[in-house]
Symmetry: C2
């Protein structure tokens, strides 16, 4: 599943407070991280000229930016002049994950939901027009944790993504939807803003989002919106499974469980964060 033209500009209009920045890539740091993002969004190591083609920086500038990133361990430069993401980021991410209170508070609820359904449970948050998976509980350990945690998927074709969108204000929703470059993954993928917005309305009314094989054929899920106490994290909670095992009726029967779990998470967060303020 390669998405070639994805890392072009991505119009990073994110969510919440860290989000309403229309302009990004400003300042020395911003430009450097934009370069890092280009390399991180590719699915193979990139050579200098490959990156040059995607970045809008002059040769000399780009070269120094890359050198700085390598110097800091954020990128790694192979003998064959190919750049890939550096392992120093693993350390940062491990801390980001372990220290994330939203995830920590949610974790027991994910487990409970997994026990109730027997299927894979995901927690993800919005970041721009992507959803980043924060946690996952599954039965078989065959699939590695890292295979999902940290992974970025489009908002418009995942249960977690659509659930998250439904929790945004209209202004935020409009901004995100406008930044989406729709791409058809399956026959069921929603590929227009109108179809997406219509579905968001339904989600707001019912409290549940569904992924009916819209991202991957044979994969269904039911989700509900969750957000952290201060709304700095907005996302969703979902139960996912193979279509052959999960009938639409079964999926629907889990809807209330997912909503309850999402509600319980938000209650826990209020309980922990409320008094402290």
């Amino acid at each position: 599943m390669d998405n070639p033209a994805d890392h072009e500009d991505e119009a990073r209009s994110g969510i919440g407070r860290e989000a309403v920045r229309g302009r990004a890539d400003t300042g020395t740091l911003g430009k450097a991280i934009a370069v890092l993002d280009i390399v991180a969004s590719a699915d193979a190591p990139m050579r200098f000229t490959d990156i040059l083609a995607l970045s809008d920086q002059p040769r000399g500038t780009l070269h120094r930016q890359l050198s700085n990133l390598v110097e800091e361990g954020l990128l790694s430069l192979g003998r064959d002049h190919s750049y890939s993401v550096g392992i120093r980021l693993l350390k940062f991410a491990a801390r980001a994950w372990a220290g994330n209170q939203f995830r920590v508070i949610a974790e027991p609820h994910l487990r409970k939901l997994h026990d109730l359904t027997g299927e894979t449970v995901h927690l993800g948050v919005l970041r721009g027009n992507e959803v980043i998976y924060l946690d996952k509980v599954e039965s078989r350990q065959a699939v590695r944790m890292y295979s999902q945690i940290g992974n970025a998927s489009p908002v418009y074709c995942t249960g977690v993504g659509k659930a998250g969108l439904s929790a945004l204000s209209d202004a935020e929703l409009q901004a995100v939807v406008a930044s989406i470059r729709f791409r058809r993954f399956t026959d069921s993928t929603l590929v227009t803003p109108e179809a997406l917005l219509r579905e968001i309305e339904e989600i707001r009314a019912s409290g549940n989002a569904y992924d009916r094989e819209e991202h991957e054929p044979g994969i269904r899920c039911v989700a509900a919106p969750v957000h952290s106490a201060d709304r700095s994290f907005v996302g969703g909670l979902s139960v996912t499974g193979p279509a052959y095992r999960i009938s639409p009726e079964l999926l629907e029967s889990w809807a209330v469980l997912v909503r309850n779990a999402a509600g319980a998470i938000m209650e826990d967060m209020g309980a922990r964060l409320g008094p402290r303020t």
Copy 2:
């Protein structure tokens, strides 16, 4: 101290750029990442003044650096003015992990080693005077993957760390050892450069490093050095288990298995990278 062997090693050129690096807080990016590192190294969210105390930047400067990091999603600023590591790093790390060829090539060998011993297997690489765990295979899934992957531990009291050190040139070894601030974790922890260097010599001779409850009481391990084909990654492979289950004799009986697995990984890497060059 004009050891001819040193020149020999230096002549081998660019060894372990990734593995051994001095402090490089230079440039705008470097200083920003240094600030990020301060926040990532703390085990709780930090407020502005906490960070100010640890960084040697003036108020105004630090404040703008933090703002920039938040702007880029590398840090997240809570409503209570506390900074924590941002989830955008999860995306970068997921790519760094999935795309890391060293880890990809090593993975089947970790599994095989796990099957042979039944105990937890770790793969880690040196970064400065820390070892960063790249992968882990364990029996019980009770402990979460993220609990180790990406985690940074001191080189001098872990099997993987000491194994990695033994694979460095004398010059690199000296540089790393000089940068260590020794801390006693258990009664067995090596706390002097001399003791560490003496043990590195033994590891070089035998091909195996041991952690005899030097980091955590009740935890033992046997390790062997590994490095990527171009030596851009230098680290170790280890089998770890609880002391009550793993006698010193049993541990020693695994030594050859670990050495063989390490050798097989390096052979695989040569096989994949060799023809391409």
